[in-house]
């Protein structure tokens, strides 16, 4: 396909729209489907036909507010309905052109105001299984422009200018990574998209893959052109069957349109993508473990350097980026790097998608400009803590991150600000806790996660997480001493400093951040044998635990 053909296709697809006076979009993402949005869609289609109105009922991906599923969006009025049932279909269709169905409008507006959609710009607006709908919304314009009008160096320059940083957790500058892989010599290079997404409570990447798979494919193809790769892999967890299915369809359609394959846009650029399924080990999201897994080996990390940029898949220079990172690429090329860098803070540009969950009125996906405060997200968009309870902490960054207390609610979200506050951006999980959460138990939950997800290769993580988990258990049971607390602190230091990969290195973070901001809760458990949140059943602990106290050091050597 060349530029003219693309424009023609986009025009055709856009022309289809005026045939309809109204569009009724029904979310068919995993969340809404589990609430039978497919039945809602069938009912709406039937009603639309009966009514004889020019109305197009469309399957779309996630609209963000999963807690209010099934979600329906009526255009052009931009009316959003939540908790829609089959029985509501007739009323919705009858209301088209008039006032929205008041009964169904649970004032969802607050949720969407203040958000800024770049990555999610098409989510909820297009059918993820129709490439034409993506193209109608400027899809593939960036790829065609890149390969026909720009040199690889110019593409990288725009990405550098944009200030985009990796959305997989580390926040490494994307342009710099591309530039490195582009400069490494190698006949064969690879592009890998990391869709392993294993943080508890995170579903940003799943949503992007389900709602707008072409965007990720386009981003990868642009990256491949920039670094000189002909082959790419998307690594998705097997637990995301819908994402895999939509990606499979999307890849076929892109190939059929000549946007993947050989001689893309009538140039010499060749690129194709295969899907690889991950078996759901959290550690396989770590880049070197992921690469080992694609090679068919046991998914364990290896020491870096060499970084994948130099020696990655089958020893070849490899670019590995997160789903959301790739999803930002096409808009950057379409609008220019400067447009992107005009959003956000000095060192964190653009937007970030968060999965807002926990003790919050409105659970779901939000995309906000970097620099927004935690308070704006939690109380503005999320509607605050329900049931009249009091906000206690917000956990960001998943098992690598930390818990921030009320004093930090006015913190502007950026990679650096979160790190200096003792947490992390991570991949975008945001769990809100109220005064019924025990912070020691929260730390213990994340430690248990790291302990069971540790690959077992290096001893500080393999054995250290077990020791830390047991110490945290002792605290929650009210049998710990101050010596245990010191030992926990020592272990945090040694596991963080000596573990081989990011999993072990960051496993102590939830403990460290809760020790920093909620030390009094640890002390209440230890000194007063009391759980301030009333979560831990102190006194009912297994007797063996208290007997064990510090049976430590028989010297066996």
């Amino acid at each position: 396909m060349n530029a003219e053909e693309l424009q023609q296709l986009a025009a055709e697809a856009r022309d289809e729209r005026p045939q309809f006076d109204y569009e009724v979009n029904v979310c068919m993402g995993t969340g809404c489907l589990s609430q039978h949005s497919d039945r809602v869609k069938n009912a709406l289609e039937k009603e639309a036909e009966i009514s004889g109105r020019k109305c197009h009922v469309r399957r779309t991906g996630c609209m963000g507010l999963c807690a209010a599923g099934p979600m329906v969006l009526v255009e052009p009025a931009e009316t959003r309905y939540g908790h829609v049932h089959e029985g509501d279909a007739q009323e919705i269709v009858a209301s088209l052109g008039g006032d929205p169905v008041a009964r169904l409008d649970p004032q969802l507006r607050g949720y969407f105001e203040g958000q800024k959609h770049v990555v999610l710009e098409n989510s909820g607006h297009i059918d993820p299984e129709k490439i034409e709908e993506y193209i109608a919304r400027d899809g593939y314009e960036a790829l065609v422009k890149a390969v026909t009008e720009m040199s690889p160096g110019q593409v990288i320059e725009q990405i550098m200018k944009s200030g985009l940083r990796g959305r997989g957790g580390g926040g490494y500058p994307t342009g710099l990574k591309w530039d490195t892989v582009a400069k490494v010599k190698g006949a064969q290079k690879y592009v890998i998209c990391n869709g392993d997404e294993g943080d508890p409570g995170a579903f940003m990447d799943r949503s992007v893959l389900e709602s707008d798979p072409q965007r990720v494919i386009e981003g990868m193809a642009i990256a491949a052109y920039a670094i000189g790769a002909a082959k790419g892999y998307i690594y998705v967890r097997a637990e995301y069957p819908l994402a895999v299915q939509r990606l499979t369809v999307a890849l076929q359609q892109a190939r059929r349109r000549g946007l993947l394959g050989s001689g893309i846009c009538e140039t010499t650029f060749n690129f194709d993508i295969d899907i690889r399924l991950g078996a759901g080990a959290f550690v396989c999201g770590e880049e070197t473990a992921l690469i080992a897994s694609i090679e068919g080996k046991r998914g364990t990390p290896r020491p870096r350097p060499p970084y994948p940029a130099v020696s990655g898949l089958w020893g070849a220079p490899t670019l590995i980026n997160n789903v959301e990172t790739f999803a930002n690429v096409a808009p950057i090329l379409r609008h220019g790097g400067e447009w992107f860098s005009s959003m956000g803070t000095a060192r964190s540009k653009g937007t970030k998608v968060f999965a807002l969950t926990g003790k919050i009125q409105r659970t779901g996906l939000v995309e906000v400009p970097m620099g927004m405060t935690l308070r704006q997200i939690i109380f503005g968009i999320g509607g605050g803590v329900p049931d009249g309870r009091k906000f206690k902490a917000v956990q960001t960054g998943g098992p690598s991150g930390g818990c921030l207390p009320e004093e930090h609610l006015d913190l502007s979200i950026s990679y650096d600000a979160l790190i200096s506050a003792g947490s992390m951006m991570g991949s975008g999980g945001m769990i809100v806790m109220d005064d019924t959460s025990c912070m020691v138990s929260v730390a213990r939950f994340f430690m248990e996660f790291c302990m069971t997800e540790s690959c077992g290769k290096c001893v500080p993580c393999r054995a250290g997480t077990v020791q830390m988990y047991e110490l945290l258990t002792r605290i929650t049971k009210g049998v710990a001493t101050h010596r245990d607390l010191d030992r926990l602190t020592d272990l945090c230091e040694v596991v963080g400093a000596t573990s081989l990969c990011g999993l072990g290195q960051t496993a102590p973070n939830p403990v460290l951040s809760t020790l920093r901001y909620f030390r009094h809760e640890y002390l209440a458990h230890i000194d007063e044998k009391r759980c301030p949140a009333g979560v831990c059943e102190i006194g009912t602990g297994h007797p063996a635990d208290s007997a064990e106290v510090t049976v430590a050091g028989e010297v066996h050597v």
């Binding site: 001893v459 054995a463 020791q467 066996h556």
Partner: protein, 240 residues
Amino acid sequence: MSAEANIRTLTIDEVDVSARADQTILEAAREHNIEIPTLCHLEGLSEVGACRLCLVQVKGARRLLPACVTRVEEGMEVTTHSPRIDRYRTMVLELFFAERNHVCSVCVANGNCELQTLALRLGMTHVEMPYQYPQLPVDASHPRFTVDHNRCVLCTRCVRVCGEIEGANTWGVMGRGAQSLVITDLKEPWGESETCTSCGKCVQVCPTGALFEKSRAGMRAQKHPEFLPYLRIMREGEQQ
């Protein structure tokens, strides 16, 4: 490229040393009689960087780096011992001792165990952490050798020697985290393994009493891993 271009000069513990560009910090240090503790490393096998005992401080690096896999660089300033590093090493050793059942007095390898030697050398006099006392199996199905998982430190030397030197690929790792186990074939009993050639290399390289020869049970099990570099040189010779 001239020979000189391949030489790097660096300092290790404030001693000026030179090394080939393809050498690791560990190799450079040992050539200059600077001792860095290691456990998973064994000359002649690929490196995995798993035991973390060889971590050293490199000036300008954000984290401690494993000496066994980190290549020398021009002007590098390496510190192999400091109060902080020594403390980490003893704690890492303690983690090893506490995670399985390393009761040296009743171990076949007592006196010939690298873990025990390291503990003595690094001055680990006691284990602060509670012992886990896992109940792990012992497989004595092989006519000549036994594997006792209670003594295994998961260094994967057996896995590597079997795959890289013997070419049998009998050993592997299954499970993850603390549940990891080295296994023969697809967890068949060792004695029933169809790939094992009974060469005994894994027994020789095992740093602890996890793998031992049956005849030696109850006696001092001496191990001889020195054959490896020799074998490797022979193999490289054959390839040329």
